[in-house]
Subunit: 171 residues, 2 copies
């Protein structure tokens, strides 16, 4: 089965992200707005229960909740036409990302970690120019807290279902 | 904020449900297939953190995982045109439902609890006759386990985001 790890922002931030995703993100219906902390990986239920969940519990226990800010929109262009709410980089989120790619956990990392909340993707080049041209002007003043992350699995239709919640700083 | 409590079936059962929901359920994109254990209720974050989550943890700790079967399709007609995968009633699921409407928890219950996974809703009467006429002939032989329930909150677009996972039989 395909699993992934994400942080879901507060309702406030999710609502802002959805106001753009609705129009510009074909994954709008597959998962709520999120910060991908670990890209999709294959595992069987045995591994998940016996190896991965204990490891994730340990990581959660040893990580304190932290805050982040969202002030602007950015893009992965020219690599992809994805547009996202930029998570103002904090040491804590990079540390958490590192922990989620160490030890017993699958450690493939194709790209450097850029913490973000996708709001537009799979746009044509022309759409991208239009949409990014206007979205890049936006200014936000959002502050939010990361106090948990979630292990999800993917259904056949591409949607993600939450399997387990890990609270930071809790045993 | 609006909260609710649901059990998400295994991927196997969710995939079966989605194969029908895709065509017949306008809520397809708002939440994965689920068994509603507690209808939407209003609460503020304070109440959720200080009162409701401790209560839910206690309930989860004192409830053992249990199994259920899905063998056929049924409907709430003539009350509504909702069509669902019928959860073969087990004492355990009714007990869990009772616990989730007792103590500190909001206890409004408009209807008797009928455990189910919705696969079609908001059909016109004509669509309903057609669709139910064919779906009611289906036979399933699905067996699944309930070993957790989830507390969710609703976003402005109507979608639900998981806030916390409660594992049955765990402290």
């Amino acid at each position: 089965m395909r699993y992934g790890i994400a942080v879901f922002p507060s309702k406030k931030v999710q609502d802002v992200a959805n106001s753009y995703r609705k129009r510009y993100d074909p994954h709008y219906a597959l998962i709520p707005p999120h910060i991908t902390m670990k890209e999709a990986f294959e595992a069987d239920e045995q591994e998940i229960e016996n190896k991965i969940i204990p490891e994730l519990s340990e990581i959660a226990k040893n990580t304190q909740p932290f805050t982040y800010g969202v002030y602007k929109v950015s893009s992965f262009s020219p690599v992809t036409n994805t547009i996202y709410l930029k998570i103002e980089p904090s040491e804590e989120i990079f540390e958490l990302n590192d922990k989620l790619h160490a030890g017993e956990l699958p450690d493939e990392k194709d790209f450097a970690f850029v913490p973000h909340i996708t709001i537009a993707q799979k746009l044509s080049d022309e759409e991208f120019s239009d949409v990014y041209g206007s979205l890049r002007m936006l200014k936000f003043d959002l502050n939010d807290k990361v106090d948990r992350f979630q292990l999800l699995y993917q259904l056949e239709n591409g949607a993600w279902s939450v399997y387990e919640t890990f609270r930071l700083g809790k045993g």
